[in-house]
Amino acid sequence: MAKALEGPLEEPLIFDRSREGRAGIGIPTPDVPIVDPHKVLPRLMVREEVKGFPELSELDVSRHFTRLSTLNFGVETGFYPLGSCTMKYNPKLNEEVAGLPGFAGLHPYQGEEMVQGALELTYELEKILEEISGMHAITLHPAAGAHGELTGMLMLAAYYRDRGETRHKVLIPDTAHGTNPASCALGGFTVVPVKTGPDGILTAKEVADHMDDDTAALMLTNPNTLGLFESNIKDISQVMHDKGGFVYCDGANLNAIMGLAKFGEMGVDIVQLNLHKTFSTPHGGGGPGSGPVGVTAELEPYLPKPRIIKTEEGYSYETDRPKSIGRMRAFHSQFTILVRAYAYIRRLGANGLKEASEAAILNANYLKEQLKDTYDLPYDVACMHEAVFSDKHQQERGITTMDIAKRLMDYGIHPPTIYFPLVVPGALMIEPTECEGLDTIDNFVEVMKKISAEDPELVKGAPHTAPRKRIDEIGAARRPRLRWITPEED
C-alpha cells in the first residue's frame, strides 16, 4: 500500500473524503408524486443504490477539485512547448461565448428554423477552413484528429469500392504520428512504411519505389514531425496520382503555414485539421477536440453525413447523399468547439493568422539556433514551427532525454514531447508557438543549457520540486489498479 503524503501536495480520493449521510447539491422539491419503482418494475429490475458513490458537501467537492487543479500544469501555469500539440493560449472570450445559451443550450433535434445561427456558424467556418486549407470541401463532423484520419481512410475505402477496385496498402513515412498507422488499420488498409530521406524529408523516389496498383494512398504529415516542410510534396503527389492513388495529409501542424501555403495546392486530396491545436480551442486535459476533414471535389460525395447547405430561405441539412460513408458519431459536430475556433479566426482575421504562423516559425528557429550548440540537432536546417533535438551530447554524461524532461519541471517548465519522432533516438520535440515572448524563450534556453551542465545525479533524481518525485510507470502497468475499491471489496 502506497503511503499518503502529508501536506499541501496530497489530496485524498473523493471516495476517501466521503461521509455517510452528507449531502451535496440538492435537487428541486418534487412537484409531482414520487413513483415507487417497485410498483411499476419487476423486482429484479430495480436498483436500490449505487454502491460506493461518494457523499460530500458542496464545499468538500469544491475544495477537492480546486486542490487537484493545483497539482496540474496548464498553459497558464507556464511555458508548455509540447511538440506537435501546439499549446497556444486559449482566449477567455472564446470560453465565454461558447457558453452562451444560444450555443450551449441547443438540443441537437431542434428544427432547423430554431438553430439558423448554429448552422450559419458551422457553414461559415467550413468556408473559412476551405480557404485556409485550399480544399474543395470541409466537414466539421469528426470529434478529434484521429477521428478525422479514420473518416479519411473510410472515404478512400468507399471511393475504391464504388469504382469496383480494391487497394489494400497505404504508405506511411517513419516520422508519422502513431494515430496514422492505427487509423489506416481501422480503415482496413495494410501499412507500408516508407523512409524519410537524409535531410529529414520524403523524396519522390522513395514514394515511387513503393507505389503500385495495390496502394490506395500515401499518408504524410506536412510540415512533418521533424518540423520540416515536405518540399517534394508536389512531385510526390504526382507519383501517387499517376498510379491512381491519393495523398492524405495529416494537418496537425497547420499552425506553421496558415496564409503561407495551402494543402490543396500541394496536390493533397484529403487533409484533417485539429481545431484544438491550430485554432486555439483548449486541450482540456485530453479533449474534447475537433478534427475537420477537407477533400477535393472528386471525394466530396463521400464526406460523412450530415452536410449543411445554404439556400435563399436559409441554412438546412442536405439529406440525399447516397455516396456518403455515413455518420462517424451521433448528432452533428463538436459544436461548441467550433464556436471557439470561429471566434479565434474572426479575431485574428486573414493577416493575424498569417502573422501567427510567421511568429511561430520565428520562435522555433530562434530557439533552435540558441540551443544547437548545447544539444544535438540531427537536422540542422531552417525549421517550421518546431525543432527536434536529441540527448546525444548529454548521454556522454549519463543524462537522458527523460532526465532532462523531468528536470525542466523543477524550473517551472512543461517538458517538450519526448522520444518522438521515432527516427530521432532520444528526441526532444520543442514547439514554442507564436504566443510566447522572447523573455520566455530566452529563459527556456538558459534553463536547458544549465541542465546540460548540472551534476548528473541532480538531473537524474529530478523532479525535486514538482508535486511528485519520479513516478513509477512500469509498476502501474505490471499490476494494474484502475479504480478505487470499496473497503468491503478489498
Binding site: 502506497a2 503524503l5 473523493i14 451535496g24 447539491i25 428541486p28 409531482v32 414520487i34 413513483v35 460530500l56 469544491s62 477537492h64 487537484l68 487543479s69 496540474n72 496548464g74 482566449p91 472570450l93 470560453e95 461565448v97 445559451p101 450555443f103 443550450g105 441547443l106 438540443h107 439558423q116 445561427g117 478529434a144 484521429a146 502513431g178 494515430t179 492505427a182 495494410t190 501499412v191 508536389k234 503561407l260 486555439s280 482540456g284 486535459g285 485530453g286 479533449g287 474534447p288 458519431r329 451521433a330 459536430s333 461548441t336 486573414a350 501567427a356 520565428l362 528557429n365 512543461h414 504566443c435 515572448g437 514538482a466 508535486p467 519520479r470 502497468a477 484502475l482 479504480r483 478505487w484
Partner: protein, 462 residues
C-alpha cells in the same frame, strides 16, 4: 496583433541573433511554387469587443431550450448543470493542460480521471472503465470492434432495432472495412423490447456471432431486461454489449453489469455537459477485467513515486496507437477529458442520495405526464413495458403527429420526436422526454394543448 507577445524590439533582436540571411532562408522553407501569393480571402481581424458582439449576434439567431419548454430527448437529455461544475471546469490548470504524458505535474487530471473510472465502474457494475471516448455512438462502435477482436472467428454482429438509429448508423460506418455481417433484431411491437422470439429464431452457429448490442432504456423509452438476451448470446459464444444512453436511469434500474453484460458503453454528457447542439459529449466504456487488454482508449492507474507516495499515471499504453501503431486496439488519442471531469464533479456533488433522488424525480415526472396523457381516449402508451424518463405515446388512428407538434411549438413547446422519421410503422407515435427541467406546470400545459388539438382534430379539416 492578438495573442502574440513580441515587441518590435524583441523582433529586431531575434532576427539579429539569427544572422543576416535568415529571412531569406525562412522564405525558402516553402518552395516558391507552393508559396501563397495572395492574402487569405477571409475577413480581417476584429477587436475582442467586436468579436464578442459578432458571436452574440449569431447566438441570438438561435432559440435555446431554456427559452422554450422542451420535451426532446432521444439521446440528448437536458439536465441542470450546477454552477459548481462550470466554475471548477473553468480553472485553467484543468482546461488548458493536455493529455497527462508527464504524470509528476498532471496529478490533478490523473486523479480526477481515476475517480471518473471508478464512478463509471460503480454505475455500470463493471470492473474496468477507460478515461473516455468521443460519444455514445462511437463508443458503441468501438465496443463492437472490440468484440470482433475478442471473437476472432465470429462473422456476425447483432444489433437491436431499438438501439438509437444514429448509433446503428455509426456502427455500420465503422464496420465498413470489416467482413462482419450486421443483423438487426426487431423490437417486439407489443412490449417494445428487443424481441427474444426473433432472436431465438435466428439460425446462428455457436462461435459465429461476436456480440449482441442492446440499449436500455431503449430508443423507444422502454426499459429492457437484457438478462434473457444476454444468456442467449452467451450460449452462442458471443459477448453482450449493454448501451446506456441515459445513465441517470441507473439510479433506478439495474445496470448492464448486474445483468451479466460483458461490455457497457454509453453517453454520459447528461452529467455536467450542456446540450451544446449535440457535442462535445462524453462516451464511456466499462468492461470485464478479462477483456482489459482489448480495451480501446486511455487508462489511468494507481502507482507510486520514487518516495513511495501514492500517485497516478496513464497505463497499459502498449494497447495504444502511439506504441502499437497499426496493431493498436484503437486509433483514439484526444478523447473527452474535460467532459469526463465535468461528470466526475457533477456526480460527486450529487452524491449517492442526490443521484438516486434525481433519477426518481426524472422517472416520476415521466410517469406523471404519461398518466395525464392516458386520460384522453385518443392516447395510449406505445408499449406495454415501462419506461424511465422518456416514453412513446401512441395516438388514435388518423392523428397527424406533426400537426400536434406544430400546435405545441406555436405555444413555445418542443413536444418530442415523431418516431415515423426512424420507424415507418410508428406513424402515430410520439417520443416524449421529461427531466428535472420540466415543471408540473409545463407538463400540464403540454397536456392541455394536446387535448385541445385532439378535440379539434385539425387533420380532419379540408
Amino acid at each position: 496583433m492578438p495573442y502574440v507577445s513580441h515587441t518590435n524590439q524583441d523582433l529586431m533582436s531575434m532576427l539579429k541573433g539569427l544572422g543576416p540571411d535568415y529571412l531569406n532562408k525562412l522564405r525558402e522553407l516553402i518552395p516558391e511554387a507552393l508559396r501563397s501569393t495572395s492574402e487569405l480571402a477571409i475577413p480581417g481581424g476584429l477587436s475582442e469587443q467586436e468579436t464578442d458582439s459578432l458571436l452574440r449576434g449569431i447566438a441570438s439567431k438561435n432559440t435555446p431550450v431554456s427559452e422554450l419548454s422542451s420535451f426532446l430527448g432521444a439521446g440528448a437529455y437536458d439536465h441542470y448543470v450546477p454552477a459548481l461544475v462550470r466554475n471548477l471546469l473553468s480553472r485553467s490548470e484543468f482546461f488548458t493542460a493536455y493529455t497527462p504524458y508527464q504524470p509528476e505535474i498532471s496529478q490533478g487530471t490523473l486523479q480526477a480521471g481515476y475517480e471518473y473510472q471508478t464512478l463509471i465502474c460503480q454505475l455500470t457494475s463493471m470492473d474496468v472503465s477507460n478515461a473516455s471516448l468521443y460519444d455514445g455512438a462511437s463508443a458503441t462502435a468501438e465496443a463492437v470492434l472490440m468484440a470482433l477482436r475478442i471473437k476472432k472467428k465470429a462473422t456476425k454482429v447483432l444489433l437491436s432495432a431499438a438501439l438509437h438509429p444514429e448509433y446503428r448508423e455509426v456502427v455500420r460506418t465503422y464496420l465498413a472495412a470489416s467482413d462482419a455481417e450486421i443483423i438487426e433484431i426487431p423490437y417486439d411491437p407489443k412490449s417494445g423490447e428487443t424481441s427474444i422470439d426473433e432472436l431465438l429464431k435466428l439460425d446462428i452457429e455457436e462461435g459465429d456471432v461476436a456480440c449482441l448490442v442492446l440499449q436500455s432504456p431503449n430508443f423507444l423509452g422502454v426499459i429492457e431486461d437484457i438478462a434473457k438476451h444476454t444468456s442467449f448470446i452467451h450460449e452462442k459464444g458471443g459477448l453482450s454489449i449493454g448501451v446506456v444512453v441515459e445513465p441517470l436511469s441507473l439510479g433506478v434500474i439495474m445496470s448492464p453489469g448486474e445483468k451479466d453484460a460483458d461490455i457497457c458503453v454509453g453517453e454520459a454528457a447528461g452529467f455536467g455537459t450542456p446540450l451544446a447542439y449535440g457535442g462535445p459529449y462524453l462516451g464511456f466504456m466499462g468492461v470485464r477485467e478479462k477483456f482489459l487488454r482489448q480495451m480501446p482508449g486511455r487508462l489511468i492507474g494507481e502507482t507510486e513515486d520514487a518516495d513511495g507516495v501514492r500517485s497516478y499515471c496513464l497505463t497499459l499504453a502498449t494497447r495504444e496507437q502511439h506504441i502499437r501503431r497499426d496493431r493498436a486496439t484503437s486509433n483514439i488519442c484526444t478523447n473527452e477529458g474535460l467532459s469526463a471531469l465535468a461528470a466526475t464533479i457533477h456526480l460527486s456533488s450529487l452524491g449517492k442520495d442526490g443521484f438516486k433522488n434525481l433519477a426518481l424525480l426524472n422517472f416520476s415526472k415521466a410517469h406523471y405526464l404519461a398518466k395525464r396523457l392516458r386520460k384522453s381516449r385518443d392516447i395510449f402508451m406505445g408499449f406495454k413495458t415501462t419506461h424511465f424518463n422518456e416514453f412513446t405515446a401512441r395516438f388514435a388512428l388518423g392523428t397527424d403527429i406533426d400537426m400536434i407538434l406544430k400546435r405545441l411549438y406555436d405555444n413555445g413547446i418542443l413536444g418530442g420526436i415523431n418516431l415515423k422519421k426512424y420507424y415507418s410503422e410508428l406513424d402515430r407515435h410520439l417520443l416524449i422526454c421529461t427531466t428535472e427541467m420540466n415543471t408540473k406546470a409545463d407538463m400540464d400545459l403540454f397536456v392541455k394543448i394536446v387535448f385541445e388539438c385532439l378535440e379539434e382534430k385539425p387533420w380532419q379539416k379540408p
